[in-house]
């Protein structure tokens, strides 16, 4: 039994954002973190490992430095890592990305008892699309916005968050779940984990490793294969700044004059 977790290294958009002259984000100038929802997905897999002794595989698509993130996740307790990396994959939108990740997960192999975990969404794109798209390509049932998981053999009872409550759902393995922060509190790396993480196996899947998968064709991946393209990108204009007022009394005076209070 395996738990396969798809993770993404993202720029820390809470920190300082560097913008290049052409208006795109300068990722190289920004600190990177593991996407927050993905840490909840990893934790869910590690809890499953605590319970059942299953293997936890972490998978990411990204440039070679993303290996550092995989090592860190192995220090938290994941057993092995897969780095999906190649020039051919660059510029992929969510459709193309899910195509590549689905092929990678397929190569790792999804057995009848296995669960694929994803974070709900990444903070750099905020689309929440890659998880469900991977599930569709792999013909797996999906549950998104998961806040609770109870496992009984191959049957899972999960809670799925709604805006005004939740749904309780039953699903059989193999399946794909997307996780949100309400699900759990991610654990830290352990000292022994840090010592061991560099001895754990890490494989790199490049284009050649995945090209024989039926999902991967050059016209379905990368910038060229992506159904969506950026037409224009722009920074919003700076609106004329408003009036700076000195204190609360002056502000309330203005609001009162304008009959706003």
């Amino acid at each position: 039994m395996k738990a396969i977790v798809c993770v993404k290294q993202v720029p820390d958009t809470q920190g300082k954002v560097a913008v290049k002259a052409d208006g795109t984000m300068d990722r190289s100038a920004m600190a990177t973190i593991t996407n927050p929802d993905d840490l909840n997905a990893v934790e869910a897999a590690l809890q499953l490992k605590d319970e059942t002794g299953c293997e936890v595989v972490v998978v990411t698509m990204g440039p070679p430095p993303a290996e550092g993130m995989l090592r860190e996740l192995m220090a938290r307790g994941a057993d092995r890592g897969v780095l999906v990396s190649g020039r051919e994959f660059g510029g992929s939108d969510t459709f193309a990305t899910s195509q590549i990740l689905a092929a990678a997960v397929n190569k790792i192999g999804v057995g009848p008892e296995d669960i694929v975990f994803c974070g709900r969404q990444a903070i750099d794109g905020d689309t929440a699309q890659v998880g469900p798209q991977i599930a569709e390509k792999l013909h797996l049932p999906q549950v998104t916005y998961v806040t609770d998981i109870q496992k009984d053999g191959n049957s899972l009872t999960v809670k799925r968050q709604l805006e005004d409550g939740y749904m309780e759902l039953k699903v059989q393995t193999p399946c794909l779940l997307t996780c949100i922060k309400e699900l759990n509190t991610p654990r830290y790396m352990s000292v022994s984990g840090i010592f061991e993480c560099y001895d754990k196996p890490l494989e790199v899947f490049d284009y050649n490793a995945l090209k024989d998968d039926p999902l991967i064709e050059t016209d379905t991946i990368g910038l060229k294969g992506s159904p969506t393209n950026v037409y224009k990108s722009f920074a919003p204009p700076v609106k004329g700044a408003g009036i700076k007022v000195e204190d609360a009394a002056q502000l309330v005076g203005i609001l009162n004059d304008k009959h706003l209070i």
Binding site: T13, N229, A235
Partner: protein, 366 residues
């Protein structure tokens, strides 16, 4: 599926809106999207259709969709569609799309729409753009949009003259805006958050003439792999940000003492007759529940008064509140971008300014 989308994009016609129902009630996001879809359909000179999935929905409710702009309603009816399941809804919707071939498909970016949209886009082999804040098919209208909302020198920029859907959304964590196109595949799919598009006034004539077409889906219980055991409403009452007249939001600036910061915001909101909102930082930290979040990934609000307490003003937040009638910003940092969108700004410590403000408002009202 690839064959479905290998055909000429010109074979696809019409604008569709997925009209979400929960427990038999059509959700207001459906009316917002139909109102927006009506404009796109007019610009293209095509039909606007609403797609509803459910079991035994009331005919009056279906006709209401016509009142918000739908020419036609596809009512996909089956006991298997009573409650939302990814498998049931995705199959019923994709089958109808493959049969009728719409060129545009709009879906509300609710927790259910964000589950359904990507599953369908992957099956149909087409693109999907999440959380759009502006949609255009007409190039001139798009240019006018850019003139007022971007730093692009529109008159010295080349634009391809076509009616592809131009889907604008905040990008890169909300620090930039991007317009996305899906030129090679159909339908062009887009999700839009509740509250982003304005609902048009209900038109009885539209409701009277809408064509309702009942569709029996080719769906069996075996198609659905996730079983709904229960649907529970949360006991806690959710905050109604979208309908609020006044919103007082707190941001990372309350981190010194979140409890006190939220209490001050609640008192100020009470004095102004409003409700409390929050930036993403605050809901991410768990200081307030997610239903309070204003911004690209939260709710879009346009109240009469919006107060931003200790909110720096990242684009992702501003996207959700910039159309408020009056924006009041209180922030310690005089260079905070929130002051660029604020009608009135006070540079100062919110823990000091807000109590004074509450006192002054109470005095003014007395």
């Amino acid at each position: 599926m690839a064959e479905f989308n290998a055909m000429d994009t010109a074979a696809f016609k019409g604008v569709w809106v997925f009209c979400e129902q929960r427990e038999g009630d059509i959700q207001s996001i459906s009316y917002q999207l139909l109102s927006e879809g009506r404009k796109l359909a007019n610009d293209l000179g095509v039909e606007l259709a609403g797609v509803v999935m459910g079991s035994g929905l009331a005919e009056a409710d279906l006709k209401t969709l016509g009142g918000y702009g739908a020419d036609r309603v596809y009512n996909i009816d089956s006991p298997l569609l009573k409650d939302y399941t990814t498998d049931g809804y995705a199959k019923a919707l994709c089958d109808l799309i493959m049969d009728k071939k719409p060129e545009i498909m709009l879906i509300g970016a609710t927790n259910l729409g964000r589950d359904l949209g990507p599953r369908c886009a992957a099956r149909l082999h087409t693109g999907l753009t999440a959380d759009c804040t502006h949609l255009d098919v007409d190039v001139e209208k798009y240019k006018n949009f850019l003139r007022t909302t971007s730093n692009i020198d529109v008159d010295n920029t080349k634009f391809e003259e076509n009616t592809n859907l131009k889907m604008t959304r905040p990008a890169f964590g909300g620090h930039l805006m991007a317009t996305i196109i899906c030129p090679r595949f159909r339908p062009q799919m887009s999700t839009v958050r509740p509250g982003v598009m304005q609902m048009q006034a209900f038109d009885q004539a539209g409701a009277d003439k809408v064509v309702i077409e009942n569709v029996a889906p080719a769906l069996t219980a075996d198609d659905i792999h996730v079983q709904v055991l229960d649907i529970k409403k949360s006991a806690e009452k959710l905050v109604d940000l979208i309908g609020a007249d006044v919103v007082v939001s707190v941001g990372r600036g309350i981190s010194a003492d979140p409890e006190k910061g939220i209490k001050l915001a609640e008192e100020l909101a009470e004095a102004l007759g409003g409700v409390v909102g929050a930036s993403r930082a605050v809901t991410d930290e768990g200081w307030l529940s997610a239903d309070h979040q204003v911004g690209q990934t939260g709710k879009t609000v346009h109240p009469r008064i919006y107060v931003a307490l200790g909110i720096s003003g990242a684009i992702q937040h501003v996207a959700g509140m910039q159309d408020s009638e009056n924006i009041i910003a209180i922030n310690k940092n005089e260079n905070a971008p929130i002051f660029d969108v604020a009608t009135y700004g006070i540079v100062g410590d919110l823990y000091k300014v807000v109590p004074e403000l509450i006192k002054e408002i109470k005095a003014a009202k007395a």
